[in-house]
Symmetry: C2
Amino acid sequence: MMEQVNLYFSGKRAKLLEELKDFIRIPSVSTSPDFRKEMFRCAQHVAGLLHQAGLEHVKEFSAGGYPIVYGDWLYAPGCPTVLVYGHYDVQPAEPLELWQSPPFQPEIRDEKLFGRGASDNKGQIFLHIKTIEALLELTGRLPFNIKFCIEGEEEIGSPGLSPFLQANQDLLQADLAVISDTAMLGENQPAVCYALRGLLGVQIDVRGPATDLPSGSIYGGAVQNPIHALVHLLSSMRNDNGRIAVKGFYDEVLPVPEQERKALAGLPFRDSDLVKRLNAPELFGEEGYTTLERAWIRPTLEINGIHGGGEGGQTIIPSTAHAHVTCRLVPDQNPQVIFNRLAKHIQEHTPPGVEVTVTAEDPGHKPYMTPINHPAIRLAAEAYENVYGVPCHWIRAGGSIPVVETLADLFDIPVVLMGFGLPDGNVHGPNEYFSLQNFDKGFRTLCFYWLRLKDCL
Amino acid sequence: MMEQVNLYFSGKRAKLLEELKDFIRIPSVSTSPDFRKEMFRCAQHVAGLLHQAGLEHVKEFSAGGYPIVYGDWLYAPGCPTVLVYGHYDVQPAEPLELWQSPPFQPEIRDEKLFGRGASDNKGQIFLHIKTIEALLELTGRLPFNIKFCIEGEEEIGSPGLSPFLQANQDLLQADLAVISDTAMLGENQPAVCYALRGLLGVQIDVRGPATDLPSGSIYGGAVQNPIHALVHLLSSMRNDNGRIAVKGFYDEVLPVPEQERKALAGLPFRDSDLVKRLNAPELFGEEGYTTLERAWIRPTLEINGIHGGGEGGQTIIPSTAHAHVTCRLVPDQNPQVIFNRLAKHIQEHTPPGVEVTVTAEDPGHKPYMTPINHPAIRLAAEAYENVYGVPCHWIRAGGSIPVVETLADLFDIPVVLMGFGLPDGNVHGPNEYFSLQNFDKGFRTLCFYWLRLKDCL
C-alpha cells in the first residue's frame, strides 16, 4: 500500500505544493483586527480543502471569534474515531523588512518553502488533510472514522476552542487525537513529543502620577517613577542564577526521574549549535540544569513585553508602565495557584508611590504529559522510523498547545504529538519555512500511520 | 511711569490676548517632523512680532534645524545690553483626548488661557516682546540695548543653539540675560530661580538572540531574555531607599549649606498639595531629603522610557530591549564624568547572555547657579514684590534650560530667571494653561524691571 502512496505522491507533489502556497498566501493573522476579513476567507479556504479531501459535514462554527472549521468521514462504524486538530491562523509577520521574500508570497529556496505559517501550522495541517484525501482516493475508504477540527485562534490563546469543544462534545467525541504542531529535534531527526509545558499569562500595570510629568521641575526625584517601580518588581522575580524568586513557585514541581534526564542528555543536541543558530552571545538559564532541561522540564517566568514612557529622548516621568509576563509550567504546577503566588509576590514587593494591578489573561493552561506507552503513540515513532530510516526521538516541548489539555481533560483520550516542523524553522519569526524534506516524508509518515492505526485502537 | 504702563495695558489687554491666541494657534511642535511646516510658519510669526514691537535687524537664522529668530534695539550707545531668550516650539499635545479644549485652539476658562505653549514658552516670551513694544511706544526709547534670541528647538534639547551662539558671539554679546521659562512657586507666589539642574541623557540598548523567539519551544528558560537583563540593569541603579547605586554618582555633589536647606524648608510648599495635584498615590524620593530638596538640590536618575517585545499578549522572548535614562545633575557634577560611571556600572552589572550598548545623547548640560547677589537679579525680586504685593521667593528648578549654561559659559554674564508659569500649569501635559493673573501682573512686572534695569548694570 505504501508503494501506491509513494506513486500517488510523486505524481501530485508539484500540485500539492502549489495548493499549499495558495493556503499560505492568505494572511490569516489572528492577532490583529486588520486581517479580520482574511481570517474569514481563510476559514472558507480550509472548509474547501476539507470538502475536496472527501470529508463531509463540513461546517464553519463561529461563536463570536474566528470560525472553527469542522469536517468528518464516519463510514467505519464500530471502528475507532480519530480527531485531527490544527489551526489556520498565523503569527503576525512583522518586522517585514527582515523577510528575504514577502511572508505571504510563499517561495521555495534551497529545498525550503518560505512563508508565514508554512510550518506553523498551515504546512502541517495541510499534510493531514491531503493524506486523508490520498487514502480516500486510493482505497475509497478509511479503516477508522476521522474528524477534523481546525481553529483560527491558536495564536491568540484559543479563547473560543474550549467552550466550543465543551458545547459540542458529541460531535467531537473521539478515541484518539493526532496533532502536528510541534517540532522535530532537527533535520532528519524525527521525534514524538510526550510532554508540553503549561502556560500562565499575566499583565502587570503600574500607575503613578495621573499624567506624564517632566523629569525636571519639582517632580524629578520627588515622585515614584512607574518604570522604576516596574523594573524593581520584575527584577525581584528572578535571581541572578536564573531561579525564579517568587515564593512557592517550585513547590509543586515534580522531580524528573534520573532516567529521563539521562535520556534527554543523550539526545543529539548541542548548546553550541543553538547559540550559533540564534546568533546569541551565549545561552543562559537556571543553574543546575542543561539547556533541554531548562526548556522542557523546568518552569520559567519570562517578560514578553515591557512598555512605558516615550520611545524617543523624552525626559519625562511617565504616568504608567506595563509588562506582560508568561510562566511556562511543568507537572504538577497549576496556573491559578502560580498566579496567586505571583500576585502575592507583586503585592509584597511593590515600592511606595505607585499602584500595581495584576491580571491573569485567562485561566491559563495546565502542563500535559501523554501516555507514552499507548500503542497509537508508539505507532507514531514506528511511522517516523519507517519513512525517515533513523531512530525516532522522544522529546518534550517547551511550549503549550492549549487544545491538548482540553482534549485530554474533556475526552480522556491520548494525544499523539507528531510534528514535522524544525526547531530552526523560524516559527513566529521572520523567514518561517517548512522543509520540503519534511513535506515529502511527512506525507508518507502520516499515510503509514493512518494505514496501521486501526490495530492500535 | 508705571501709571502710564498700567493705562497702556488696560487699553490693550483684550487685543494682546487675541494676539497671544494667534501665536498659540500655530502648532509648532518641534519633536515631530509632521509639524515641520508649522515650525517655519511660527518662526515667521515670531519675526513679525519682533518687527511689530519696533525691533530691528530681525532675522531668522537657520543652520539645518528650525530657525532661531533674532531682533534687536541698539540705540542706547554706552549703555548695557540685555539678551532675552525664549522659544517658540512646544511639546507634542498628545494624548489629545485628555484636553478639555483642543490644544491649538486656545480658550479662556476660569481666568486661565488654555492651549499648548500657553505657558511654555509662548505666553512668557510674548510678554517680553510686548513689554518692549509698550515701552518703545510710550517713551520712544529704552534705557538700555536689547537683543532677542528666540529658538525653535528647546523641546528637543536645543541642538542648534550652542553652535549658533558660538558662531555669532559678537551679534549676541550682552551684559545680562533675562529668561522667563521657569515656574513661580504657586499662584501669587512669585519667585526668582537661582539654580538649574544639569542633564545627562543616556540610551541603553540590550541585544540577545538575533530574532524574537517563542518563549516555549526550546528557548524559554534556555536563553537570556533581553528584557530581564534590562530590568536587572535598571533595577541595580537605584536602591530601595531612592539612592542612586551607581558607584561614584554622588562624589562631586556639593553639600548644600544648612542655611539654604532652612530657607527651602520655609517655602510655602506642602507635600499634601503636590500629591493632590498629581493625583499620585504618594510621594517618594531619596531618603533623608525633603521633596523640594529631592527635586532641586539632589541629583536623580530617572527611566524616561522602556520598550521591549510586543504590546499585546505575545509569548515571545524579544531579540532586543531598550531604555532611555536621564540624570538631573547638581553642582559640581559633570555630565561626562557621570556618563563614564554609569557606563562602567552597566558594564559591571550586565548579566550573561546579552550585549549592552550605552550611548550618551549629547555632551549633556552642566548644572547652573546664578550669582544671587547681582543687582540685576535682586531687581527681579523687587519687581515681583512691587507688582504682586507679596514677598518674592528664591527657588531652584529641577530642570535644565540648556541655553543658560551656554550663555553663562560663553559670555560670563548673569542670567535672570524670572518665570510667570505655575507649577500646576500642565506644562508638557494636557490642558496646559497660562494664568491671566500672571499675564496681567507679568506684563507690569517686566515693565517695572525694564524701567529700573539701567541702574543695576
